[in-house]
Amino acid sequence: MPKDSGIGASSKRREDVRFLTGRGKYTDDINLRGQAYVHFLRSDVAHGRINGIDTGEAAAMPGVVRIFTGADFEGVGGLPCGWQVTDRHGNPMQEPAHPILAQGKVRHVGDPIAAVVADSYAQARDAAEAIVLDIEELPAVIDMKAAVEGGPKVHDDLESNLCYDWGFVEENKDAVNAAFEAAAHVTTLELKNQRLVANPMEPRVAVGDYAPGTGDSTLYTTSQNPHVIRLLMGAFVLGIPEHKLRVVAPDVGGGFGSKIFHYAEEAFCTFAAKAIERPVKWTSSRSEAFMSDAHGRDHVTKIELALDADGMFQAIRTETFANMGAYLSTFAPSVPTWLHGTLMAGNYKTPLIYVNVKAVFTNTVPVDAYRGAGRPEATFQLERVIDKAAREMGIDPVELRRKNFITEFPYATPVAVEYDTGDYNATLDKALEVADVSGFEARRAASAAKGKWRGLGLNCYIEACGIAPSALVGQLGARAGLYESATVRVNATGGLVVMTGSHSHGQGHETAFPQVIAEMIGIDESMIEIVHGDTANSPMGMGTYGSRSLAVGGSAMVRATEKIINKAKKIAAHLLEASDADIELKDGQFSVAGTDKSVAWGDVTLAAYVPHNYPLEDLEPGLEETAFYDPSNFTYPAGTYICEVEVDPDTGKVSIERFTAADDFGNVVNPMIVEGQVHGGLAQGIGQALLESCVYDANGQILSASYMDYAMPRADDVPYYSVDHSCQTPCTHNPLGVKGCGEAGAIGSPPAVVNAVVDALQRNGKDVTHIDMPLSPARVWAAMNG
């Protein structure tokens, strides 16, 4: 019987009411008295030397308040990078400066050169057109291999375009090579994981404000982690201490990673508001978003899998080129390394793994985390090469996976992580059942009768999320801790406010978090309110990404609530004249074990704030507690995804006919929300597999910089999905036993789709082993007829 409240209930989302009635409060809905508007003049060449910027005519145009250029930011810090990777030889990565406005050179289309602040957007835009730029276009480098083989340098002051050459685990390299020498079979695959644009539907917005009376700055911004922005911008860019800087991220319209990072526009609006003593607002257009939001993926990989004669995996060796773009975005260096190399074991007990990653600067928009971040890239290569190996060796792809599955936990992989728990056979079996794989032949025959080629592809994935144990990531190069915080404030009349560093931008925290606390105390969910997104009213927290909110932020909330309950029990013991060891809390009622004496939650909370009858000599009044939770390990959601496609042999068009996801997320707090998260991830993964691609031409112009050219998945590109999360091996190291569900869909779906298309072609006699994403009709048709 499904529960109707508390942990495990599909409680309806309370935040929906304001969103459905147009009363959400997104950053662009904020308008401050007297605000000015900024328009950024951005580079239209990929690489160039700035010889002159003449703002004279523009500055005299109507409504213009002030025009800023790179010169105004001399002495101001650049955008910092939050992660330092150490290369194969023990050297730190090359780290270029990243100015707020271009200094001396522009390095990608979209690099901001000047900022026009005016009384209206239209005036700012008009004036920007009157700025006379003298930019000498330089040869650009777009292709990663060209960039490391002597192409033009993106940064004159760096040795080369190679950010780092990383080997993981370097000490295993020789053993891995030896295993390849000895292997009965080696399968090799070269593939691309194409550049994507996250495209949350809400474009980025920043509003800077400055109070001359107090010297306080406030930034309203579309961020997944306002505290992180406060720290990075305050400490590294503008030199504002945290107590003089407030960062607010109100309702945020999706992020998918792209709103983690600290962006130049945020620093600009905060800086300019102080300079002109007026609020300064920037609203990105979608076209601007395509050339200023950090992009995702963009890896080129060669993977080799060594097997013995029975199909047991012996070793994996990979070489990846990872595009950093022109500058290092906040977490960029970690994505192809620690979020990718650590996942190369997948669900399998491959004993030896060596991953080489060359991170490369090019004259393109910076690349950073996008939903899944590194883990989709790892999963894609692994699950594609396994499928290829299965065909080469004549082993059923399901059986090849099954025989190599890790079945005993905890399991230490050869790539530095330890899986605490899992049951990969269970999710595989569940997926085969839900997908009705036994009925596939009949469906294939029916498709064939219509002239369509049907194929089936599967993918088993694992991801490391619940990011992250601070001590571990510190050793790995993170320049920050990755704990989360929560303050639980109980009011006198019994209601609770939880202030958390986790940020909700679609995940439904305002609904799901109260379910947990309601269950712990035994009160109604409606008595609990979640406050987030404002550094002024929540403790320092690291925000929402890496499927961490419930696993890390939720754990902090549980710990703080435990402290509340402990103190409340002491108060109740006093009121009941009993020992606190004998107090039990159930259904919002404190009782003395073995008696009928009890006192209600509300009476205890009232006593905490009206301490007339209260153990004042032992306890402080009030009922408010804070906890910081630092996880001891990552969490490891895993599962099996199965995709069935129909390929039209005349056109190469692929349609997704059925899609099944069987995930093990550990315990589930709100199944409705979890399923929704999977649905969204699936559409993004199917989008990557079939539709999306950020394309540059050889000169560095973005050819897909609007929704006319960047193919976002639409409602008729996807089917109803079948999702199942009934296989649950609870996480062993966090109090809720939860693993995180936000990224799985995007990680698990692309290989399933590509495997299905390759399957359809092979069943119809086409010797096609791989097609690079997106599998557009043209590419599929070319592969079929190539």
């Binding site: 309806k12 929906d16 009635t21 239209a122 949350p200 979608r286 679609g506 993004q684 639409r714």
Partner: protein, 161 residues
């Protein structure tokens, strides 16, 4: 500047606009009706859909002056008279048809226009009709389901898929 007047959610409003002011900007900035969202600059995303004289229109593709004298309904005008959620809005909540909520006003306005013309659409018709509305969060599953349910059709089978 020219003065434009129209009826928005049953109320007469007017304001001074430039020739180039879009209806979306007039509603958001002029009238403070920030439920209408702007998600693109190429008329693709549908976050900005409102009804103009009963028809679903992308308010970013219309100059405010073109709506002079028109009857405009925005998401703020879609709740029942007593303030409770309308049928489509309620179905979106019941079936989790929204996550971040940014595409949602446009989705609801488009769904209302669809169901007015086609009260019992098929799943394929709903998906096809939503071709001008992009959602990045939901994967569309629950949006389609919510619209089917709002049209009075049984979606229990979908839940069991």
């Amino acid at each position: 500047m020219t003065t434009v007047s129209m009826t928005v959610n049953g109320k007469s409003v007017s304001g001074d606009v430039e020739g180039r002011t879009l209806l979306s900007a007039f509603l958001r900035e002029g009238q403070g009706l920030t439920g209408t969202h702007v998600g693109c600059d190429t008329s693709q995303c549908g976050s900005c859909v409102v009804h103009v004289n009963g028809a679903a229109v992308k308010s970013c593709t219309l100059f405010a002056l073109e709506a002079d004298g028109a009857e405009v309904t925005t998401i703020e005008g879609m709740a029942n008279a007593d303030g409770s959620l309308g049928t489509i809005q309620q179905a979106f909540q019941d079936y989790h048809g929204l996550q971040c909520g940014f595409c949602t006003p446009g989705m609801v306005m488009s769904a209302a226009a669809l169901l007015k013309d086609n009260p019992k659409p098929t799943e394929a018709e709903v998906r096809h009709y939503l071709e001008g509305n992009i959602c990045r969060c939901t994967g569309y599953h629950n949006i389609v389901k919510a619209i089917m349910a709002a049209s009075g059709q049984d979606v229990v089978a979908v839940a069991a898929e």
